[in-house]
Structure formats: C-alpha cells, structure tokens
C-alpha cells in the first residue's frame, strides 16, 4: 500500500514536471538578455533548494539518532544525504552548462560555485566515512556526528567565501533581486515536483536500508545455527 502511494506520488511528480517543461518551452517567452538557455534556472535553483532541504533533514536525523539511538533515523540520514548530493550535483552540472553558454567557461572560482562545491565534498566525505565502517550502530553513531559537523561548517563556508569578488548573479528571489512574476511562479511551480521526486527517492532509499537490515539480521541468525 505504502509503496503504491509512493509510486503514485512519483508518477504525479513526473507528470507535473512534463507539464512544466511543456509550459516552459511553449508559454514562457525567452529572457531578454540570455535567450532560450535561461530556462535552466527552473531546474538549477530548485535543485539547490532541494539539496539544502535534504542536508537540513540529514542534520535533524543525525541529532535525533544520537538522542534516540533508533536506526530508522540513521536510514533517514543516509537517504537524505545521498539524495541531497544527487541534487547538489544536478545544481552544479546545470550551473556549469549555463556558465559555459553565458560566460563561455565551465567553471570559475566564484563564491557561490566554490561554496556549493565545498558543501558537496563535505557530504561526499560523509558517504565515504559510512563505507569504511562495518558495524551498523557504530556507523550510525559516527555518521550522525559527521552530519552535525558538516552542517556546522556550511554557514562558515558561505560566510567566508562571500568576501570574494563574485561573478555569479545576485539572488533573484529575495534581497534586492527582482524577477518577472511569470518566471517566479514557474520557479516555485517547478520546485514542488522536484521536491516530490526527492521525497520519493528518500522514501525508496529508506526502504532499501530497512530491507538491508532485515537481510543482515537473517544472515546473522543463519550463522548462529
């Protein structure tokens, strides 16, 4: 039942995304300066938001695991970190494609680019750390600590890199930035299905973790005989 709901949600998200892409290509006019490529923003920015939402949930899961010692929090932590990394990669890659077309270069050591890359590496370290630990409770405990430490570096990263000159445009959704209302509603309208996709992925990954634990338990009891 739960699985069916999940797949239903996933199908709905894909339908919404398809609808959005159609609307983007047909209904929305090209942006005045950038032409057609600007549409990548409807994936670039929501991917970053989704990525940080995932990392925030991973922090909460880490703290909750240390409080309760319930392995389901660990499963949530690893699932959200993996999905967050995937969306972080999507953000970096779409940004690079966009940069290549507008700036003519794939990469520049601008603070927004650099800080995102550092975050990505930090959470990549989380996964590498997990790989190196066999014992499930120890793995859960140390990854929770790693998740808390990683998240506390993130504000510093943003702080410190902010003091460099910047090539990346200013934020368009808050602060001084402004955005046409049609574009803005499209951006948020596309974030909803992307967040739904992330939710489905996290849920599927958590199911995998639970089954992995069941398999491990069966294996242990088989060895006990």
């Amino acid at each position: 039942m739960r699985e069916k709901t999940l797949y239903g949600l996933g199908a709905l998200a894909i339908a919404l995304l398809t609808h959005n892409i159609w609307k983007m290509l047909v209904n929305l006019p090209d942006e005045a300066f950038q032409g057609a490529i600007f549409r990548i923003i409807f994936f670039h920015v929501p991917a970053a938001f989704t990525c940080f939402t995932c990392f925030l949930v991973s922090l909460i899961a880490g703290i909750s695991y240390l409080k309760t010692r319930d392995l389901k929090w660990d499963a949530l932590g690893v699932s959200t970190t993996e999905v967050g990394l995937a969306f972080g990669a999507a953000n970096l890659l779409t940004g690079m494609i966009w940069a290549r077309i507008i700036w003519g270069i794939w990469w520049t050591w601008d603070w927004r680019l650099t800080s995102m890359l550092i975050c990505w590496l930090l959470y990549g370290g989380y996964l590498v750390l997990r790989r190196a630990i066999e014992e499930p409770t120890e793995r859960a405990r140390l990854s929770a600590v790693m998740s808390i430490l990683s998240f506390s570096v993130v504000p510093f990263v943003f702080f410190s890199i902010k003091w460099f000159r910047t090539q990346h445009p200013q934020p368009v959704l808050y602060g001084d930035g402004k955005m046409d209302s049609g574009y803005r509603s499209m951006l948020y309208g596309n974030w909803v299905p992307i967040l739904m996709v992330a939710f489905v992925l996290v849920a599927v990954r958590m199911m995998q973790e639970r089954r992995q634990r069941e398999v491990d338990a069966l294996r242990r009891s088989a060895h006990a005989f």
Binding site: G125, A132, V145, S160, W163
Partner: protein, 226 residues
C-alpha cells in the same frame, strides 16, 4: 580545577611519549621540508609571485604536516588497548580530548616555528616584519586545525584506511579556517599590518575556534564511547 589538571596530564603524557620517540614529529617535519622543496618546481619563485601566494603556500605546508601529527594522536593509543584504558579511566572524555588537542597544538606550533625561517630563507621572504600579528594568526588558525583534526582523529581511529580517511574528511571541514589564515598571512608576510576588512577574517578565525571547540567537546563522548 581538577578538569584542567586532567587536561594538562593528558597533554603532558602525549608530549612526553612523542618527544621520546619523535616519530610523528620527525615524519611531519621532513614531510614539510619535502613539500617546501616541491613547491619550488611548481612555479618560478620570484619576489612578486611570492608576495601574492606566500600565505597560501605556508598554510598548505602546515595543513599537510598537521595531518601526520593528527593521524598519530589517537592511533598511538591503539597498541596494547591504551585507548580503552584511557576511556575507562576517571578522566572525562572532554578532558581527554582537550589534552590531546593541546599536545597536537604544541607540536604543530613547534613545526610551524621551525618551518617559517626555512621558508623565509628558501623563498626569500622577510617573514618577521609583523611578528605579533603573525603570531596571533598562527595561534588562532593552528588551534582550529588541531580541534577539527583531533576530533576526526578520534572518529577515524578504528577505521580501515585511517591515514587516507583523516585528510579526506578534515580538509574540506578546515576550508574556512585555512582560507582565513591564508588571507591574513599573505599581507602579513609582505609587511602590512592587519587593518580594515581583514579584521573580518580574524573574526572568522575566532568564531571558527569557539564554535568547533564547543561542538567537539559536546560530541567527543559520543565519538569515543558511543
């Protein structure tokens, strides 16, 4: 009071055993020298170039040398189950951790003090023009490196590939601290005092030290005991 005495006892124990064997100290000093040598092939060390990148070079050397010391910090206790004995002793986890940080701090500062004049001679940098500011930056940034490095040393002590894991996890974490140190050290080596916007980097260093020292002290029992 008792807590401080425990911290100093642990630090003294670590320093004594390190100074008797000198295994991490020698390795990391030799490593620092080799990196200093390798840099000379990477670029043409003319004065203008050095004015621009000296801080970055120096902190890369310190970060690499530091990783060797930090690796040994908890790994040294694995032999004969010393770590278990330390954990089950009446010394609280926080004191054990801070003692180890203090020992690493003294060792790394020692290496930095040795490396600075060597760096100055090899790359023709007059490093002693702003001694007090430079000392302040070294003291603050090295503390940050040692606190983050030591908690990760505890975290990775039981892992396979410990020597690889530690730098891989620690360097991304240290980026804000190292970046601030590099930003401050380059002008200091060129003879300019810290002024204006540069105080922001100094504040960042202080903030980094305070936040990660408190986080590490809170989390260390979870890391060591479970």
């Amino acid at each position: 009071m008792l807590f401080l005495r425990q911290v100093f006892t642990i630090a003294a124990k670590d320093l004594r055993s390190e100074l008797r064997t000198k295994e991490a100290l020698n390795a990391s000093l030799a490593f620092a020298l080799v990196i200093l040598l390798l840099f000379s092939f990477a670029f043409d060390a003319n004065p203008e170039m050095m004015r621009e990148i000296s801080g970055g070079l120096l902190w890369l050397v310190f970060a690499f040398a530091g990783a060797l010391i930090l690796n040994r910090s908890f790994a040294r206790e694995l032999v004969n189950d010393c770590l278990d004995a330390l954990i089950s002793s009446p010394v609280p986890g926080a004191a054990l951790f801070l003692g180890k940080v203090l020992a690493n701090y003294v060792l790394l500062l020692g290496i930095e003090v040795v490396c600075l004049p060597i760096f100055g001679v090899f790359y023709n940098v007059r490093w002693a023009q702003q001694p007090l500011w430079l000392a302040l930056v070294l003291v603050l940034a090295t503390w940050g490196v040692c606190v983050v490095g030591t908690i990760f040393s505890a975290l990775t002590v039981n892992l396979r590939l410990r020597e690889l894991m530690l730098p891989m996890l620690v360097y991304p974490m240290l980026i804000p601290c190292l970046m601030a140190a590099m930003m401050l050290t380059t002008p200091l080596l060129a003879g300019q005092p810290i002024q204006g916007d540069m105080f922001a980097w100094l504040r960042l260093l202080v903030g980094f030290d305070i936040i990660f020292t408190s986080l590490a002290v809170v989390l260390i029992d979870t890391v060591l005991i479970g």
